[in-house]
């Protein structure tokens, strides 16, 4: 299945792109999606404890199951205002 993946702030700079599409095994969760990118970008993996994921525009647990067409974003600590 294919999901859309977005990176923001410093995570976008680490990965080198703002948007990507990932092909995952059926039944994958956000945790596996992050591991997919963490394996390619060790610096990203080190941010695991200081980022949150969103799933279709809602903050989501790492265990959230994914489905084709979902949009997942990895979000560093927010600093708006």
């Amino acid at each position: 299945m294919r999901v859309k993946v977005l990176f923001f702030g410093r995570l976008k700079e680490i990965v080198g792109r703002a948007e990507d599409f990932a092909d995952l095994a059926d039944g994958s969760r956000i945790e596996q999606l992050f591991a997919h990118y963490g394996a390619r970008h060790p610096e990203l993996a080190r941010f695991r404890a200081s980022l949150v994921a969103s799933h279709n525009h809602e903050f989501a647990a790492w265990s959230t199951p994914l489905h084709a067409g979902d949009e997942v974003a990895f979000l560093p600590p927010v600093s708006g205002g």
Binding site: G9, V52, A60, V78, G80
Partner: protein, 157 residues
Amino acid sequence: MDPLNDDMFRLVVEPIDAAALVRHVRAGEDGAVVTFDGCVRNQSHGRPTLYLDYEAYEPMALAKIREIGAEMHARFRIHRVAIVHRLGRLQIGETSIFIAVSAPHRPAAFDACRFAIDTLKRTVPIWKKEYFEDGAVWADGELPPAPVEAPAAKPAS
């Protein structure tokens, strides 16, 4: 504009017209309008700032700002809310966020405005990068509260 109650929630790149937002929330039944004007400071931890770049996960940020507006109405006896956040490059002294809250009586307007900016800073996916003479850094931020991890699936019975 939100057709239900005339609230206004926007992400913009152009300068924010604060006076227009005050006019927008203010009506005959209101006794108070409280505003918050967040502006670009000229230094960060003593280091002179040149300018800031703001970016957002726009659809989610707007949805989260709308949720804040709904929560303000649920918690406080207010009339109307306007929350506008600017994105892109901002110079020193420019307004990055403006919040206006009207209410029949001032305590609710003060409390709701404070709630809005404090919640926004914790939960809305917007980021700022600070530029200095000798480099740039992403501002220290707050990690939004993530949902509790779902329990492991139980074996099918």
